[in-house]
């Protein structure tokens, strides 16, 4: 039972929950949140891959990848949220007589 096993399992669980959220939920912002959870889950898997027994330093490569992943996920979220806002305005404009 080392930290990387614990967090590895947690990461996969978070990815699973996010995947379920992205597929099953109907509401737009929740699905986006599900995707963000998947992204954090994938981040967990990579960071767990980098962890080494304490005296040894962890492998820096996955750390850089996850930082890139986080920024990429933020960009995608920002675009999706802009779409949600705009779509809401359009639908709102149509519903109101």
């Amino acid at each position: 039972m080392t930290p990387d096993l614990i967090y590895g399992a947690a990461g996969l669980a978070v990815f699973g929950i996010g995947l379920w959220g992205a597929i099953a939920l109907q509401d737009r912002m929740r699905r986006l949140l599900g995707l963000k959870l998947c992204s954090v889950g994938a981040g967990f898997v990579l960071i767990v891959g980098a962890w080494r027994e304490p005296p040894a330093a962890p492998d820096p490569m996955p750390h850089a990848l996850v930082i890139t992943g986080i920024v990429v996920m933020l960009s995608a979220t920002a675009a999706a949220l802009a779409l949600i806002r705009r779509l809401h305005d359009l639908e709102d404009a149509d519903d109101r007589p």
Partner: protein
Amino acid sequence: MTGPDWLTLSIILPLFGAVAAFILPRAAAGLGLTTVAATTLCVLMMADQVAALGAVTVPLGGWGAPLGIELRADGLSVAMLALTGMVGLLVSVSAIDAFAGDRTARQRQYFWPLWLLLLSGLNGVYLGTDLFNLYVMIEIIALAAVGLTVLGGTREALRAGLDYVYASILGALLFLLGVGLIYLQLGRLDFAGVIAAPPSAAMTAALAVMFVGLALKTALFPLHVWLPAAHANAAAPASALLSGLVVKGALYIVLRLAGYMPALTEDILTLIGLMGAGAVIWGGIQALRAERLKLLVAWSTVAQIGLIFVALARAGERGLSDSWKAAALLILAHGIAKAAMFLAAGRIKDEIGHDRIRDLDRSPIRPTLAQVTFALAAISLIGLPPSLGFIGKWQLMEGAMMAGYWHWVAITMIGTLFSVAYFSRVLAGFLRFDRVRGGPLAEHHGWSGADAAPLILASAAVLLGLAAGPIIAFIDLGAGGAMP
């Protein structure tokens, strides 16, 4: 070497173009077109470099494969780059006309930066050899493609764009999870590492997750729900880019991975083939029921992508080393023909005012040039000789016959019949003159300069079949085991 190599240039040049087009919105069209032309020139220079030296590898930052990232141009990647360049150039020319009016000033301003970012992303995918780098490139393509999908600004386009965003983010994240798991196994992320990897359960699981992600991005049958609405509701040049080029990026990665996957056993290939067959049949049925022209063309994309996956699975595991060439040919043929068809559909919609298939024959205006382009593109998509599509299908069926997989031959035939059925719905509409309402029939009325680009593309799709020999020889360059 005296300066930056052609490979980096072909990725960074469109980037500078996009930046310039974004900063100077008024000059966007001019800048955009020159950049696309310059990039295509880069690709041509790279092509003869590859023709001379075989595969060309550029270690970015000078750090070599596992640590740094390498760009590699071999036959297949340059063929895809050439496809992107050629189709891109002609779509750009057609886009200049499509967004010329003042009503579409905003779309003109934003089309070019997004398209050039897309071009940079695509070139990056075709030249990249690092899995995580491919993930970042896929994201650039996804974002630019979403931007292009919602360029029209209508509610349907936005709703389709949102579904597209969800599908492409989920696909990319599944791909990222696969990359993470592979790093967990091998400790390195470049193609050479993946090839050398001993087959293990974890490796299969990782590659399976990546494949599901890519299937979601290429809209393979069960995961195709987002594609028709997104491609049908986009503006004409945008949907030409989406259907013609964007889908090809993910297909290329599937092709690359299929080439190296140690774990691609017989039953996985049959599963992929079945999904492809499902796409061919379901796409065909939906295309027959489609009300609008662009929706029909979008559903035919779903069917053609299914056929490409059938081509991959046509000869089982033994034939895989040859099947990817048939798939590559079909990808090239579909790219050219589908871009031409979407541009033609856009032209027809502009001239006639609507694109309801049932009323195509009611309008007095007959943009015959656009209709001829549509017909030529249909010839290549159906796979009639001498088109490139025909040669692709020929190779598919030949491989399947040699390996004795008759069911794939049957699927291809069914696909062809379906495509004949739904394309003749449209062609009959073009050639019917007895229900014309509102004004005299004007046969030559709808002609304009904007038809030139789609016509060139469509006739290229039909006539390139004769040049299939050199194309296949080129695709073979540097491929096979030599891959580092």
